[in-house]
Symmetry: C2
Subunit: 271 residues, 2 copies
């Protein structure tokens, strides 16, 4: 397989996107989510294969056009796939699977298991923008076009991932929540990660709110990059330092030095 | 991408397999169907990625064990994937996607578009065995263990595909029916294919029946290999010669020299 990186993500209407989601947004989200996995590996996208459950013909036509736009935007080819009929009793449940293939730009390919005691923890962009977009869509927060765009069409951090790959000790994308994904990185690396909540970069409408900062750290969909660097090394791109890596203690994740509330989920647990 | 071959197939419960299908059979079928695409390219399987919609925990556990058995049987690794929750309103509709990666053993990789006038048309194994298995399961035909096994767990013709790859002008696997797939090969190659129905190798219980031979040629699920050879070349494996390739005429497919009945489907049309 050499320097090829492969990743597969599935998107289910009703689970990952709302049932009335525009087909264009589903296409852009499917591409964005998959290419974000390549970004976290510092890989350059080559192409995708996709599995598609057929729906209404107008929906499918709009999806196909947007899929072409999104793939073209990221200079990525549609290499193959499979279309299948959707059973009548499915209650509009449809699943789309995409496999993305990329070429690593730096070897070894960054993984989530390389964080070492003494490393610093960093994140690109802002945490909670996609959550603000969702709350705007559902009317629970004021509408915010940038946030809604981020929620609907995640922008994979491809160039940042390639710039970071030669420097990081560990890297992953944040799909299920900052805290949950940081805990996964700590578990995979056999270390303890401590996050300073006051350092986490939040969008302005979230800062100062009583509940939203804690929610934002548990909300997925931002698809920012979470990475560790050796102590004293600065990242070659814009990013924010949010924590430190320690040797393994009793817990994998600490927030401001304390164990997270065990009654509160750290993020989006699959299934 | 060099000599890598990638293929993606999706399997939907209720569409491709019966709703009460055993999880073990779903796992073997998913692997068999995907590796059959590699077989038609003369490729050696390396690994798979899969997208999995979660179901009942006992079902999922049995599926996972059988998936491990099937992949191990074909010396193929599980390289990655994604598990997703199934929406409550799905009516038990669940979709599974699999991407298979193989390494070509002969370049150029055989395709369905290389058939040339003067070539001969061949098929491996028997056509209609999976149909007999289905009819046995539904009680419309006597039970036949070999046929039921073929229907439930297609056996990809991997070694035959590798042996054939250096010799064929075109090759594909028969997933949607002999006639439909032969027509697709003819369309892709810009030729006319004529099939001698009397030469098509049928299982004994089908021979002599008034309707079943015509149905068998329109039934998918056999996953045999359909291929063309230059005139005078014999295949290096057991196979049956069933037709001839001509230059393009008004129709892509002829059966015993005649145009197929336009009122009757040639096979399983997706969607």
């Amino acid at each position: 397989m050499g320097d090829l990186v492969l990743t597969h993500d599935m998107l289910v209407i009703g689970t990952h996107v709302m049932s009335d989601c525009a087909p264009e947004d589903v296409a852009w989200k499917l591409v964005g989510v998959n290419l974000s996995d390549l970004a976290a590996k510092g890989a350059q996208p080559i192409g995708v294969l996709m599995g598609y459950m057929l729906g209404a013909s107008e929906w499918d036509t709009r999806f196909a056009a947007a899929l072409g736009d999104a793939l073209s935007h990221y200079d990525t080819a549609l290499l193959g796939g499979d279309t299948v009929a959707t059973p009548a009793q499915s209650g509009d449940t449809r699943a789309f699977g995409m496999t993305a293939i990329g070429r690593a730009t730096h070897m070894p390919v960054p993984s989530r298991s390389g964080a070492r005691p003494g490393d610093t923890l960093w994140v690109t962009g802002q945490i909670g923008l996609a959550m603000l977009g969702y709350l705007g869509e559902t009317g629970e927060a004021p509408c915010n076009d940038i946030a809604i765009a981020r929620y609907r069409r995640p922008a994979p951090r491809l160039s940042e991932g390639r710039a970071l790959a030669p420097h990081v000790t560990a890297m992953m994308d944040i799909s299920d929540g900052l805290l949950l994904d940081a805990q996964r990185m700590a578990q995979a690396s056999g270390v303890t990660i401590t996050i300073q909540s006051g350092a986490v970069p939040l969008p302005a409408p979230i800062i100062g709110n009583a509940d939203l900062p804690a929610q934002a750290m548990r909300w997925g969909d931002d698809y920012e990059l979470l990475f560790t660097l050796p102590n004293g090394i600065e990242p070659p791109i814009d990013a924010t330092r949010i924590g430190v890596v320690y040797g393994m203690s009793e817990h994998h994740l600490l927030i401001d030095g304390a164990v997270p509330d065990p009654m509160q989920s750290l993020g989006w647990e699959h299934g």
